[in-house]
């Protein structure tokens, strides 16, 4: 019977998670080495909503790597598809996932979420970028013209 780890979110919700899944987070792993597995590990920087998502991510990836008949249970293609769907969330959730992945020290999740935001910026015009993230253009008309000339090469 696998060992379970208790995690407590910032809003005091308790999550019981298999050790292998919880230890995808190096922060949790290190903290549990100090305090043992009996006491719940407090995660004051992560809300229950985000923690649930993070646990979902870790659980999938642990299962996906498990081998049956000497082959991992999920192909790279399948994992990629799952990851792509996983990050189809609203921006605020996505940004919170970045902060959580950093705090919990889960490199693959941090890489995935940062790449997702990068892909939201790539290939867009300045106006499209503003629209995507609700950014206000605070250049004066003169500044805007100067900056545009300076970066003309990026539009050709």
């Amino acid at each position: 019977m696998a060992d379970k780890v208790k995690l407590r979110s910032s809003d005091q919700q308790m999550f019981e998670v298999e050790e292998e899944v919880a230890f995808q987070s190096l922060t949790v792993k290190n903290m549990s080495e100090d305090t043992g597995l009996d006491a719940p590990i407090p995660l004051p920087n992560v809300s229950s909503k985000i923690l649930a998502k993070v646990i979902e991510y870790c659980k999938y990836h642990v299962d996906a790597e498990k081998k049956a008949d000497d082959k991992p249970s999920k192909t790279e293609e399948e994992i990629k598809t799952w990851d792509t769907d996983f990050v189809k969330v609203d921006q605020s959730t996505l940004f919170e996932l970045i902060l959580a992945a950093n705090y919990l020290n889960i490199k693959s999740l941090l890489d995935l979420t940062c790449l997702t935001v990068a892909n939201m910026i790539k290939g867009k015009t300045p106006e499209e970028i503003r629209k995507t993230f609700n950014i206000v253009n605070d250049f004066t008309p003169e500044e805007e013209e100067e900056v545009r000339k300076e970066n003309q090469w990026a539009f050709e």
Partner: protein
């Protein structure tokens, strides 16, 4: 409130007028950062930078046109330095212009006519992540950082006295007048190095580049942590350089030489860098000791004994991972004062042209070039540290052994001892008689 802050002098103002975050607390005006990032303000600068680091150049160029805050972020030099150095298609092609951004653009779009004007200066933009590197590049070095001179300096030391007073007790020392006859002291300067490296590349920050390109970069860059020429292949690329110096008499036992040049771990480096370049705190590999000779210029050294972790440095328990998250200047700004008050005082000193520093095994050390400096350094094994090196290699952690191909690391211990037994049998005996060696 307190007296008004002294105005930051023009010379140290960030090119885009980015202000440190601390200034925001005293500012009256609008905060361009949070208002300017839209929903992305949820991400700290650090994460925003991680995202921007994934973007290609054209996207950064367009991002700069979004608004003032993104103009500042997109123009951050770190991004353009990474783009230049990591682009396989630009290797060997880029030539350093005045900034990494200009360098990248000129190299990737050689026929484009770039519009150049003074960089836009924004108001009300606060970011430590963008401001701090600029500050570190321009802040004058405090005299207090350079004053303390506590590493022993010795002239005319006999080899025996060196071993008894420094090597065996494992204590640093600056050896004077021991390399006076090196041709290097007469020959080595940028012009000479340019000549001997003609047709070859050198390694700076582990990136290959032409020497003259490195020189241009060295003289113009405003990088917080300048790329540092640190080349272990200098002797094979430019044999004249190897002929210009010889190992000082104190260090010529050099036991790893029994493995031959092909079998021994990396052992010698040519080092060159502009002012403020250098190495952050680290311990040398494989439990070896080292000597470092300054040929031109000067270096400020700070050294801590093996068991004392320097402030600002984090190391894993097994010493496998060392993180010194701050740059050299940032270390001085944030930690030097603390280092003067701690339970263990570091040894410090400035090594000038013609002087050689002995770095005993296991000692933490950091070096800051005070001016453009050229140095040569070698790591070595002698009877004094032989047992430690043997124990280290026997330890069985192949990943901790460094300076040789991965496949060789596990076998290095056996290969070394067997070669030692064949070529230096009396020394080989010492490795198992270490207690006899160290007793009075």
């Amino acid at each position: 409130m307190g007296s008004p802050k002294a105005p930051v002098s023009q010379a140290t103002q960030h090119p885009h007028n980015v202000q440190p975050w601390g200034n925001y607390l005293f500012a009256q005006g609008k905060d361009t950062r949070n208002a300017g990032l839209g929903r992305l303000r949820a991400l700290d600068d650090e994460f925003l930078m991680q995202v921007l680091a994934l973007l290609p150049a054209e996207t950064l160029g367009r991002l700069a046109c979004v608004n003032r805050a993104f103009y500042c972020f997109s123009n951050h030099e770190d991004l353009w330095r990474a783009l230049t150095l990591e682009a396989p298609e630009l290797e060997g092609k880029w030539r350093f212009k005045n900034t990494w951004q200009q360098t990248y653009l000129k190299a990737s779009l050689p026929i484009h006519n770039f519009h150049r004007k003074h960089p836009l200066r924004v108001q009300g933009f606060y970011s430590d992540l963008l401001y701090q590197p600029w500050h570190c590049t321009t802040v004058p070095l405090h005299s207090s950082w350079l004053k303390r001179d506590t590493i022993d300096r010795r002239t005319g030391l006999s080899v025996e006295d060196f071993k008894q007073q420094y090597e065996l007790p494992n204590k640093p020392v600056i050896l004077q007048n021991t390399i006076d006859d090196w041709p290097a002291l007469l020959n080595w300067n940028s012009k000479y190095l340019k000549k001997v490296f003609k047709g070859n590349t050198i390694l700076a920050g582990d990136y290959p580049m032409g020497f003259d390109n490195f020189l241009a970069y060295s003289q113009r860059s405003r990088d917080e942590m300048p790329l540092y020429l640190f080349d272990k292949h200098f002797a094979s690329k430019a044999p004249q350089l190897a002929a210009d110096y010889k190992v000082p008499k104190y260090f010529d036992e050099d036991l790893f030489s029994v493995l031959g040049e092909a079998g021994r771990p990396d052992f010698r480096w040519l080092i060159m860098g502009p002012p403020r370049s250098g190495s952050t705190f680290h311990k040398d590999p494989n439990a070896t000791s080292a000597w470092n000779a300054v040929v031109t210029g000067s270096k400020k050294w700070i050294m801590y004994p093996p068991s004392a972790l320097p402030p600002g440095v984090h190391a894993s328990d097994d010493g496998a991972d060392v993180a010194c998250p701050v740059s050299l200047i940032e270390w001085f700004l944030n930690f030097y004062k603390e280092s003067q008050k701690g339970p263990v005082q570091p040894l410090e000193g400035i090594c000038r042209a013609g002087e050689v520093l002995f770095v005993p095994r296991g000692w933490w050390h950091m070096a800051l070039n005070l001016e453009e400096s050229i140095a040569v350094t070698q790591n070595y094994v002698s009877s004094a540290n032989l047992q430690h090196v043997v124990d280290f290699l026997k330890g069985g952690r192949a990943e901790l052994v460094s300076g040789c191909p991965f496949e060789q690391r596990g076998r290095l211990h056996d290969a070394f001892l067997s070669a030692l037994q064949q070529q230096r049998p009396q020394v080989h005996c010492l490795s198992s008689c270490a207690e006899l060696l160290l007793s009075p």
